[in-house]
Structures are given as C-alpha cells and as structure tokens.
Symmetry: C2
Subunit: 345 residues, 2 copies
Amino acid sequence: MSVTVRILMIGLGNLGRRFCDLLVEKGPHIQAHYGLHLLLVGAADSRGIAYDPQGLDPALLSAIKETGGSAADLPDASQPGVQAAELVAQAEADLLCEASPVNLRQGAEPGLTHVRLALERGLHVVTANKGPMVLAYQELHRLATGQHVQLRFDGTVAGGLPAVYIGQRDLRGADVRRIEAVPNLCTGYVMELLADGLAWHEALERARAEGVLEADPAFDLDGWDAAAKLVILVNAIMDFPARLEDVQRTGITQRDGTAVQAARKQGRTYKLLATAERLADAQVSLRVAPTLLPADHFLAGLGRKHMGVVYHTDIYGTLMAAIEEPSPLPSAAAMLRDILDLYSR
Amino acid sequence: MSVTVRILMIGLGNLGRRFCDLLVEKGPHIQAHYGLHLLLVGAADSRGIAYDPQGLDPALLSAIKETGGSAADLPDASQPGVQAAELVAQAEADLLCEASPVNLRQGAEPGLTHVRLALERGLHVVTANKGPMVLAYQELHRLATGQHVQLRFDGTVAGGLPAVYIGQRDLRGADVRRIEAVPNLCTGYVMELLADGLAWHEALERARAEGVLEADPAFDLDGWDAAAKLVILVNAIMDFPARLEDVQRTGITQRDGTAVQAARKQGRTYKLLATAERLADAQVSLRVAPTLLPADHFLAGLGRKHMGVVYHTDIYGTLMAAIEEPSPLPSAAAMLRDILDLYSR
C-alpha cells in the first residue's frame, strides 16, 4: 500500500532546492520504508511558479535553481510572474512546504499568507520559515486545529536539530523551567573570527566571503534570528505566548574583539545565548545576548558548525542536544522529518 | 473527557518506587493536560503482589517500599507470596510497566515472561528492563504488532535520555551510519575515581559507599550494561538484528589507573564507549571498550552524572544528545514519557 502526498514547495533557495534533492535521493527509500510517495506537484520562487498535478521533476528543478534559474523556467509546467499565493490558493495538493525568505517585518509576508491560506484550504503545513511562527504562533495553531490539519515547524529552530520535537514530545509531563540555546551558526562563527584576532569589518568580510552571512546580515548579527527561534521554542515548549518584543535582545554587531580574545586565552567561549526562564509569577523572561559560558557548560563545547539547546526540567533532569551541520542539508531534511512524522505515526 | 489507564507495575526498586512518586506528583497535571487518569491497579515485587481494580495508593506503596517493605505489605490489596506473573496473567489492566531487575542470564527471566504474557493478553507494555529487549527484541516486536498493542522501551537505554525516540523518530528517512554512546553512569564514575588517583579496590569501595554500584557490579563494570544498551539501540535505530554475543566487549574491571591519570593530565578523558558502525557488507560492528576520546569529542565533555549518544547520519549531519541525571528520577520518568506518548499522540 502506498499513499501519495502531493507537495507544494514555496521558496527554492538553499533549503527548498536541497529539499528537492532529498526527494530525488530518498524517494525510493521512503516509498519502500514508509509506503509514502512524496510527489512534488507545485513549486514557487520570487519569479514565478510551476504546477503539474502529475508531478514536477525535482531533479530538473534543482538543477535549474543551481544554475541561477527559477521555477518559472521549468519546461511545460511553468507560469512566469504568477505569485506563490496563487499556487497555494488553487493547486490540488495535500501539503505545503513553506521555505520562502524569513521576514520579521511587514507582518512576516508573504510567508504568513501562504501558511494561512494553506491551512484554510485544509492542507497540512510544514514551515521552515520562522516568520509566520514568530508573529502568529497561536493564531496558526488554532487555525490548524480547527481545520483538522497539522502544522509542523521543527525546521524553524536550529536547523536539523529536533529541538521542538524533543521539547514537546520527549519532555512530556515535565515542567521545563529554563531553556538555553545557541540556535544561530553565523554569530558564533563571527565571534570565533573576532577571537582569532580579526577586526569587526574583517570578520564580517571573511564570513561573507565564506557564504556564512545572509544578504541582510543584521538579521543574524543583531540577534533577531536567535530571538525569533527563542520565541518559537517558548511558545511550543513552555506553553507561554511569548512575542518577539518580549525578548531582551543584544546582538554582536560592531563588537570589539577584546573580550572574546581574553576569554579564549582562558579556554572559554562567548556564544550568542538565547535564554528563557520561568519566573515565579508564571511569566517567562526571554533574553538573547553574547554570553561568556563557564568552561564546563554544555553549550561551551559547541564548535563552529554546531547549534545546541539545553532543557532544564523538573523530572527529566537536564536534557541537552546539539547538531553539527556541515552543510544546509540537515536544515532541509528537517522538512522531510516533519512530513514523515506527519504521515507515519 | 478523561481516559483511565489501568497500570500494573512490576519491580518496586529505585525506578518502580519513583514511578509511584511521579504518579502522585504529576497525576493532577497529567489529568488536566492530557486527559489521562493513570491508575495503578497492580504492583509486584519479589515478595508478593497487590491488586485492586479500584486502584492502589501509590503514595502509600512508595512509603512502604522506602522503609524496606513490600507490595505484599499493602493493606487490603496485598497477596504475599504470589508471583508477579500471576498478576500479569489475571489482572484487569491496560498497560504493564516492567521494571524488575535486569537479568541477562537465565533468559532474561522473569521479566521476559511478564512482557510476553502482557502482550499476549493485549496489554501495552512499557519496559525499563533491558533483559527482554536484549534477548528477544525481534520476537517481542512481532508479538506486539500481531496483538495490535504498543511496546515501548526508551527507558532501557541511558535512563531519561530519549535516545531511542530521537533515533527512531527524529532521524526518520536517514541512514544512521554510526552510533557512539556513553550509556552507563557507573563506569564513568569509577574511571573518574581512578583518574583522581584511587586504586581499583578503593575506587570500587567509594563507588559502592556512594550507592553508585549495583549489588552485582560486574554487570556494569564488565561492560554488559553498555553492551545491552548498544544492542537495543542498534535493533531500534539501525534496523539490524544485533545480539549481545555480537558485541566485542571490554570492561573496566581491575583497570590500572595509569592511563586515565595520564589522560587527565593532558585534559583528556576515558569513557566506556559503545560504538556501532555499519559496514560495507550490510553488517554492523558492535564494540564496547574504555576509549580515550579526543578533547573536542562531544562525549568527552560529559560529566560524572551525564550519559550521551551521538548519531552520525547521511542527511541530518551529526546529532548529539546527553542527559544529566542527578538522581534516578529521570530514569523513572522515562516510563511516564512512554505512557504519555502512547496515549497522547
């Protein structure tokens, strides 16, 4: 017996394109092992959409994207200039994968519209896009519940690390009193460069040259990315309706290297640490700041390609998890995890 | 709406007793949050059983056990001298928690009989007892599938660390190429004492005085415990029918402290490492041995109360998880996790 899952993929950047590769590489295994036929029927990027109810060719789409092309260049199925929202509104599909660029301003658009629309149409949603989850976590969950569909978002936090799943499922029954996380790769990398002795602008240049920085580096460097991930974790795991504006946020922009260099000489490390703590009055305090970690702190041992999270609980002791991501593949795989989890419980 | 789950608890040692405490402390929260009424209807230890379809008092049972008593001392409901197997065979119940002492000899009895009997009667089974899972993993899973009941065993590996869940669920779709684990607390503790400069018999005495050693310390010290956990992980996560006799096993018994002391001087650590690696011919090699870990190895950073696991995968990068267990509570909570997961998907 095989179940076909008709997928719409919005956003064909680093994640979306690699997700297409995963469909190609893992398709036969998933069919054999889970009885699932993952069929990409629609795809969209900023230049247009492609749609074919019989299925698009994910290998061809990935190749086109890798050479700078667009979904709108896909032979036969393409509709240049048509917006992704139109695809979500009209396509026959079972599930939306949202991986369009994160936008915490402008109401998380267009991602939020895509997610809302898909849920309203009765599609399951898997989002790697933090924006909608940060700005409308509670609303979207209510909507999904009302529509009897699933909303999954593990890929929004710390790439391929199943931070949300561990917190929601494996800590069932517990009171999670404190969360500490290093959920952002880029800031850690830049601080390591500062510790190496580079000046701020040199560190930035190097990180940019190595492809570690996004087009708008302020999103990472000013701590917005870490804050967004913290807000999602707190909503999902501490059952508290945290908002982005609740986060006391200090980034690393224009940081002087003196402190990180001195720390390294003592064998210690600064990390951009995201912390949430349950307070006595049932509130939760949220904070993102460069933090000098004790040498024996779990997160102090994380390397440049590592992200990690620590859950302090009442009945499960302290649970720690980390991931080493040598490429964006694990982040794309997080969407595959969500899909497989959704259909193969 | 509330669902009542009638539970039989076999084994009232460190885990079973703390599980009773958890029922008391977490009962109201679980009822409110998950709509589950966890009702202990039967309990057994080596001296007898207690059974009441209306429910036993877990607080009283815990108190009796703490002062050296038995389930057979529980007022009204007790049946001294009756064996646990009889309880499993006759009680009206929904779920068996098996936490009787681990026994890898004598065919994992009596635990294996309890688990088999419960599955045959259509009860779900949650086991913290490694024995049945090590000696009959494949048979018991087939039996559970045939009976349409669930068999959960996350508590058999590394206490409260959700090593099995992370491997089975969060790595869906991946090829787990290598597993490295430090799943045993006691051996790490003894090696730390050796590194402190204690001789073997002194280290052993100290560990025993601090309650870290089991009555039969050879089970831990000779690496059987770690080997058993590795066998379970490999069956569950690498989809390979590993057996205990497949593990190339070296313990730490009578170990000379020279090497661990020298290692510490260089800032490095020995751990009793359990490793499984997929080989080219679809076989899996299994090994347990004291291992000098590189300083930057994830598991090298684990403290005395930590257990950890590392999964090397094809699509999720390298995933690492660890737990700090200041008491046996998290290991008992692992059974609660299994139950909540089973009923609140």
